[in-house]
Symmetry: C2
Subunit: 200 residues, 2 copies
């Protein structure tokens, strides 16, 4: 999961750990807060040992314009094998406890995914959300297996969220079949801004 995200981010150019963490937060802000260093560095080391990334400069002697380069940094660069690995992981997505996050990461790199795989992943995700939805609906329909009102409310809210996600996926799948990307849904005119004044 982290591996996929890191390989994807490194497609945009060499970076050091701290920078990777920031880019990760920007790109995956919708699905997770911030990756822990206790995850990041061991993962980088594993990936380096596997040969997906390297900390050697591409052209020795030519020091590229240091983006935020300071001192004693270790700049990671994706290798050819890393790009192959990336393409491979992009197509792999099975059910898991972290399905939510795994789907999100895959989705975030859909612009590097071929259309057929995109469709397969979207339909797979829809299938699993529908199953969860059925489970919750079933539990609620038997009006609480002697469950208290708070638990029931939680399930009701979960059912609603699942419902909403299925509809979202339906739209995406429809667009995908029509061959049109998300079309950058009027991001600026999102109909909900007022609650915080602050800047602007």
């Amino acid at each position: 999961m982290l591996e996929l995200a890191l390989l994807g981010i490194l497609h945009e150019g060499p970076m050091h750990g701290y920078e990777l963490r920031k880019q990760l937060s920007l790109k995956l802000g919708a699905i997770r807060a911030a990756v822990s260093y206790g995850s990041l560095y061991p993962t980088l080391r594993r990936m380096q040992e596997a040969g997906w990334i390297t900390d050697e400069p591409a052209n020795p002697g030519i020091e590229p314009p240091p983006l935020t380069s300071k001192r004693g940094k270790v700049v990671y660069r994706i290798t050819a094998e890393g790009k192959e690995r990336f393409a491979e992981i992009l197509t792999e997505l099975g059910p898991s406890s972290y399905e939510e996050q795994a789907f999100g990461v895959h989705f975030a790199f859909f612009n590097r995914t071929d259309p057929a795989t995109r469709l397969r992943i979207l339909e797979g995700r829809r299938r699993r959300v529908e199953e969860k939805r059925e489970g919750l609906a079933e539990t609620l329909h038997r009006t609480g297996e002697r469950l208290d009102s708070y638990t029931l409310e939680l399930q009701r809210h979960g059912l609603e969220a699942a419902d909403r996600e299925v509809r979202w996926l339906n739209e995406l799948i429809t667009n995908e079949r029509a061959g049109s990307p998300p079309t950058v849904t009027q991001a600026g005119s999102y109909p909900h801004q007022p609650p915080i004044k602050e800047e602007q």
Copy 2:
């Protein structure tokens, strides 16, 4: 997290591992699929070592009516210390990567939580969801830090979900202040059933 859930479930009576897993799935169906045995058994062992639970019968010699008892089972029972521990964990909830799940588990046991703690947890959760919401709105407002359309769509969807959760929490907080529990919102007459039909 698992510890809290297990202690809570065991308040309803002694159970063996397999049964615990099922009850957990029922109670927490909205927030997670099913707990793995690789989590369950080590956790039970730790809890037993800590003295929160025991596999000794409450009244030696008196074999209580075996609910689903089969063979060679280990029936766990919560101890007095376990109940204290449960009450303690109920009030502890900080931010974390698993905030989502941790909040869900706490919420699922709100009927055993005192009103002041309920309010505090709901408001804390709202604070963090609002922060996430602000972060996403900020990113989207600067119309994509050179983010592709799929990533933007993901963030837009995340923003919408955060928005919706804040509203849900607001309602809960209002009710909570008024001293009225969720009132088992017409669970049976949930106004949305038909959608499976590939979007209308």
